[in-house]
């Protein structure tokens, strides 16, 4: 078991290294750097001015050198101008001491050029907001999906099964930007509709209420729910045909008891894996929903970072995203072993 975890962690580290390098490469392409220079300096910079701007901030160094600086295995670029003003990676406004190394390994995620702040503090603030969203989405999505899946799977082929399965297919065919639009029109539009909830969740950043948080939560839960429900249904249907269920039935155990006491525990092993693997998929949903409902969380931050080519911020965002993917994969593998005693990792 421990060898397995160590091995997996090694692969995870390698994956994270490769992916951050890929993001680094894509964000540091010449046109992106020129765009950065122009948004940071002035839009009307001449080509020489752009060159000088990039040169003085260390962007002209070879890609690998700068990646090393970002990682923290190389000393950060530093240029002290004639007037004593220092420029470079490790120079942060308001700090009197300029450290030699300032990379991820030193715990420094860099400086956001858009928000003019430390990347780590921005990311943690936005992640907190998205955390609330995810928490409520999970609280709504997982129980709903499991109930639908179990109800559909316990009597395969029945009318309940068919209608619930169709409902599950419909939800998987409705991406967030479709259901969000429909929900806003039905529940929040001032022209037609019920006006139960608000179409914007901007106020939920300070204070979460039913009125301002219901729509984003159900929008996200709706799309993710169908897949989990279908997996639960398949797993439940399989368990219900098992020998020991038939034995229980022949003994005269009531149907409710069979489902709740005998079948459910075994039927929930597969959905656990699916739910864990579903979490990274929710990221796309987070980005869409936060844009649609104007909730400034992690997804919104990602859009801002990408559209302004804020290199450090984008790298931090992708680190978080990749970390979530790899950790959920690991948890699902380990959890599967714990839940299913028939599987042993050699």
């Amino acid at each position: 078991m421990w060898i397995f975890i160590v091995k997996r962690t090694g692969v995870m580290a390698l994956t994270a290294l490769c992916l951050t390098f890929l993001v680094f490469f894509l964000t540091n392409l010449q046109p992106n750097l020129e765009k950065l220079a122009k948004t940071q300096g002035t839009m009307r910079m001449s080509d020489e001015a752009v060159d000088r701007w990039l040169e003085q901030r260390g962007y002209k160094q070879p890609l690998l050198v700068r990646y090393g600086e970002w990682l923290g295995v190389r000393p950060g670029f530093l240029l002290v101008k004639d007037n004593g003003k220092a420029l470079g990676r490790c120079v942060k406004p308001g700090a009197d001491h300029i450290p030699n190394y300032c990379g991820v390994l030193q715990g420094d995620m860099g400086w956001s050029t858009v928000f003019k702040d430390h990347v780590s503090s921005i990311v943690s603030k936005r992640l907190g907001l998205t955390g609330w969203l995810m928490l409520f989405v999970m609280l709504v999505m997982v129980p709903m999906a499991l109930i639908i899946g179990v109800l559909a799977g316990m009597r395969e082929g029945s009318r309940t099964d068919r209608s619930l399965s169709t409902f599950a297919i419909i939800t998987t065919a409705t991406p967030e930007y479709v259901s969000g639009v429909v929900f806003v029109v039905v529940f929040a539009s001032s022209a037609v509709g019920l006006r139960w909830f608000k179409g914007s969740s901007a106020s939920a950043m300070d204070d979460i209420t039913i009125a301002n948080f219901t729509l984003p939560v159900i929008t996200m839960a709706f799309y993710g729910m169908g897949y989990i429900a279908r997996m639960t249904r398949a797993s439940m249907a399989e368990v219900m045909t098992a020998q020991y269920i038939r034995t229980a039935r022949l003994k005269g155990v009531s149907f409710a008891n069979i489902v709740l006491k005998h079948a459910l525990r075994n039927a929930l092993i597969a959905p656990f894996t699916v739910i864990m693997l579903q979490i990274p998929w929710l990221l796309t949903g987070v980005v869409i929903v936060e844009t649609l409902f104007n909730y400034k969380g992690f997804g919104w931050l990602l859009v801002q970072a990408a559209s302004n080519n804020d290199i450090d911020l984008l790298l931090a965002c992708s680190m978080v995203a990749v970390f979530v993917v790899l950790v959920t994969q690991l948890i699902s593998d380990i959890g599967y072993v714990f839940l299913n005693p028939r599987i042993r990792i050699s």
């Binding site: 692969v11 994956t15 490769c18 992916l19 890929l22 993001v23 894509l26 964000t27 392409l29 010449q30 046109p31 992106n32 765009k35 399965s165 169709t166 297919i169 419909i170 998987t172 065919a173 409705t174 991406p175 930007y177 479709v178 969000g180 639009v181 429909v182 806003v184 029109v185 929040a188 539009s189 001032s190 022209a191 037609v192 509709g193 179409g199 990274p280 990221l283 796309t284 980005v287 869409i288 844009t291 649609l292 990602l302 859009v303 990408a306 559209s307 080519n309 984008l314 965002c317 992708s318 995203a321 990749v322 993917v325 790899l326 994969q329």
Partner: protein, 384 residues
Amino acid sequence: MESLSSLQIALGVLAQLLPVWVGLGITLSLSMYYRPRLGLYGHLFDSRVGTIGLILVLFWVLTALFADLIITHDPLAQISGMKNKRPGFPVRGMEGAFYLLGGDNLARDIFSRVIMGSRTVLSIAPAATIFAFMVGITLGLPAGYRSGRLDTILSFLSNLVLAFPVILLFFLLVTPEIRSTGVPIYLAAVLFLFPIILFVVLVQSRFYTQPTKRNIYVSLVLVIGFWAYSGLAFNMDPLGVFYMEPNLLNIFVSVVFVNAPTVFRIVRGLTLDIKTRDYVAAAETRGEGPWYIMLWEILPNARGPLIVDFCLRIGYITILLGTLGFFGLGVSPESPDWGMTINEGRKLLSIYPHLAIPPALALMSLVLGLNLLADGLREQSLKD
């Protein structure tokens, strides 16, 4: 002139879609008539879910085909005074002409835009799916059949792409800046090679005992393949037949790049399973080459799950394209792409709900049709 009532709008839309109804009627009655001879497709009509899915998909395919006949106005034309007008509003200065589903923020006819949008979606999504499948099959078969180091490397690479959040990859890959560096072209140069490799190997492994036939087919594949390749990837087709807008190429390549690893995983898994079967052992004993076994023994026997995933994947790519449009990264700013129309409409959603609802429902119904079709196919192929 009076605006149309809801009933008149519904009737108007149904009447405009007449070519689709005719086409649907002919296709369905022909399929029902020849049903016993059509194999899996014929069996599809045994399942209600599959039939509904097929009808939805056919509806949109026919709509895309007959789009020119169906539209009531030019989808790009802006008619003054029609900005954000409600559904069924009469067009100023045109007798008997209406905006059936209203006008959008730039005074264009929403009905015609949604109809035309189906063309964009239905030309890109299936094509991208086919390419993703060809890449996935070309790499997945040897990875599963040979295993070993090749498998380890390819699996690591595919896991790498899969661990990358799709949305982030799109933000990084689909930008004007990336286009100016030529990254999409390099990516296309690599990805578009796989179909040529696949077809050459397919023909070679089948006809290698008949050298004359083989030489003709292989050279034919190579000529056509590289002709299309030069046009699609590098825009250097000498005859100008094959051509892709740089913007479209960028989106297309990114979508294929994101989806190919998943197909790779599925094909690899199926190959691992099928290569233990007796007929594979029989072919090995006959002395067939590895590529023959992979492409002519294993692949045809993996078709069931692959066809099901093919349908699901077209739906998923439709959703992806919509997501791209939603973030303004669509095919072109003018095009009536569904995702982009939703994005434009959502800003005015609470005042003018009619802007975003039609494209949203259109996209949903197409994806729903594909998902139901996949479900029906799965059900029927499991019966065999």
